[in-house]
Symmetry: C2
Subunit: 500 residues, 2 copies
Amino acid sequence: MEDKLKQLKSILGEVIDLRYVSLLLGWDQQTYMPPGGAEDRGYRMATVDQIAHVKFTSNEVGKLLDELEPWAAQLDPDSDEARLIKVTRREYDKLTKVPPEMVAELSQIATAAFSAWQKAKAESNFAKFRPHLEKVVDWKRRYVALFAPFDHAYDVLLDDFEPGMKTAEVKAIFDVLRPQQMALIKAISERPQVDDSFLHQPFDERKQWDFGIEVAAKLGYDWNRGRQDKSAHPFTTAFGLDDVRITTRFLPDFFSSAFFSTTHESGHALYDQGLGRSLARTPLADGASYAIHESQSRMWENLVGRSHPFWEGFYPRLKEYFPAQLGNVSLEAFYKGINLVQPSLVRVESDEATYNLHIMLRLEIEISLIEGSLQVKDLPEVWKARMQEYLGLIPPDDAQGVLQDVHWSTGSIGYFSTYALGNLISAQLWERANADIPDLSDQIRRGEFSGLLGWLREKIHRHGKKFKPQELVQRVTGSKIDPEPYLRYLRTKYSEIYGL
Amino acid sequence: MEDKLKQLKSILGEVIDLRYVSLLLGWDQQTYMPPGGAEDRGYRMATVDQIAHVKFTSNEVGKLLDELEPWAAQLDPDSDEARLIKVTRREYDKLTKVPPEMVAELSQIATAAFSAWQKAKAESNFAKFRPHLEKVVDWKRRYVALFAPFDHAYDVLLDDFEPGMKTAEVKAIFDVLRPQQMALIKAISERPQVDDSFLHQPFDERKQWDFGIEVAAKLGYDWNRGRQDKSAHPFTTAFGLDDVRITTRFLPDFFSSAFFSTTHESGHALYDQGLGRSLARTPLADGASYAIHESQSRMWENLVGRSHPFWEGFYPRLKEYFPAQLGNVSLEAFYKGINLVQPSLVRVESDEATYNLHIMLRLEIEISLIEGSLQVKDLPEVWKARMQEYLGLIPPDDAQGVLQDVHWSTGSIGYFSTYALGNLISAQLWERANADIPDLSDQIRRGEFSGLLGWLREKIHRHGKKFKPQELVQRVTGSKIDPEPYLRYLRTKYSEIYGL
């Protein structure tokens, strides 16, 4: 059987190589590729993706799995080998259910939809995007049908991002969250507002860059196995355990944008750099799920990077970089400024207190689209109505409304809720980490992050994709994904900042 | 048959995609990859290369070629289709002759040899490299044996770089060249020497960069379909017709290095950007040979970039960039300075008059190694003796002698002569271009390069790999590769500069 396992790992190793290569093509496209290269890049990526797909879904892999499963059943169920067979089987069964023509069809739909979305957003013209989104939704409904029976049609899509997660679970979590976050925002809005004008001044890009790099290194980002570049939208991408890259973008007149993007992406990168080395070149060398990944980025960005102890340590250093801008701004004023709560039309600009509401709105729309109870043509109106209800704002146009996010145009439906789940998980892990490391706040105050990073490495990172997200959260915290720790975190933090 | 052709082109398209992807992996490795990523990068490249190899050498391709050849025989023999079948057949027959295990073996030998060479060169210790080079030579001799019978064993290696070229042809050319270049160098050495000390001053890197980019754009490099980055050794790489990138390196205290590297690599890039669009994603979308490619880089670097008319146009502009360094240097002094002749130990630092002698030395050594008349262990001594004979210099150590070039460590034997052949072809094309464009010098003086570029596009670039190098040179100039135009060029240029 060791021979069969070796054979399987050899095929999977090539598949993983090709997936990393595809990611490099994407990274290059968003960082350094000259504009003229765009069309050809599509061919290259399609070729690589298709070869990886064919290799992974081959009968050979199916046969090896059949042969290995009885053997794996006798191993420790948490061993790398047993989990490798289990996770590979899961992915194999999913991917082989979809006819190759349908995969190619989505790729074509998405290419056209992405380009239409770019134009539609630039012109704030939903009509230009509508027929493309209709095709995406239609494809997704046909895709869902391949996996019948199911508890809920949307489960199939959610599962692509959160293995094993059910729509009913997410809805139940959001039902607890929604009224309490809305009440919190309302309470905040009735208090004297925070001033963050000092964050909106010219900040030299080079200095912003250097400070971000310096902090990320302190957090534990191994720059020998990583790098930072600029791109239109910040992202993290890994080409293996030893080459994990982040990108950021700079606003010349606003400090928070690049810095918190660097800490956010560093959180993703720390996860990818910490995956178990024994899992390399297998499907287990990946994050457990999108939400677990997001829990890492949000933890370093917010629970660490927007915390009072963090800035007790770093604010003097930041003032050395920007004496003119921050020399007269106290630590307290700075801390409040970076934690300003202000309902916003745009998800990616929103703060910790309002962010999840943006997600709930999207989840409800996606579920209705897949159920068929909402038509694409009615999206702009539904969006506006829901925004007014949740955040008290009405987008003046669709560019700042239903057209703001790229996800649907790339064929991603089922993705959004992972952002909110990531927030919740980050707070659950945070409570547990603080229980396990009683002086964690002091460590952070002193600029020491190896305690927290070591804890995350041990509890989360090294396991890679061995466990499903709910399973992993349960193992680490003793309960499933739970909104209460995040609500406690928000209430404590903002009560203090806004004097609630 | 159109269906069969479509099938063949579809497979070849994927092979070409993968080859471009492999080149991107290489480009990234030499520009932005973090150091930690090196080991994994080897896996990624091996996987991509191997899949491309298996796909190209499949029975399916062989069968399609068998079926298509009778049909192609009835087409215009110069048509894209006829040439595609011919060139693909040639490559297919070569690649299928080599057992996959042997391909993998060379890859392993070369990986170890490259790393040993880096250490050996750093320590100037040939003994460290010797066993690896012996393995390379042994492999190459076994490789050659697969292609028996042949006129000369070395033909097989030469053919990998210069399709159809024979060792006897190259030897005959070099036999004409050697005594005349040696005589020229001797004559120059007896004249008052040129002063180039003003080139050895601090030159701001940003300004060097900007001037190089500006000039390359004037030459016709389409930056919308290209870019420049920094790397340890300058190179050009294409990921398709619309994404052709160059790299350069900067010496802070020497002007010539980065500038002539940028014009050299721009010459390669202009070729790759000018390949016929109808040839895209086929094996014809490539240079005709290494020597033809080098003829383009050397033409733009030397026949254009080191010419008097070129600097009549650009020298005032260069002085605007560097008034402190060049304000008091006349055009004549500058022109002589950048054309200084000075025998050097190191090939990549050598001038137009001495360069080819470095190549001849290497060719003779390679031929003797493959014939078996020279043993690897005797290389350092042979190198020193030949250097003294040709250039009057004895390397003080092996780092500046036999260990200076990377080529052998990567398994490339047969490559070197393409550099000298490229020089010769550049002068042949130059004579023809001047005959076809009588006012070419005036155009260059005015900074107009579209006449020359258009001529090269028409005569060379658009044909891609359709013709073998000798065939292409014959078609354009009316004769095969011929050393006389280059000798005439050298004599005319240096007679004037050195008053011979």
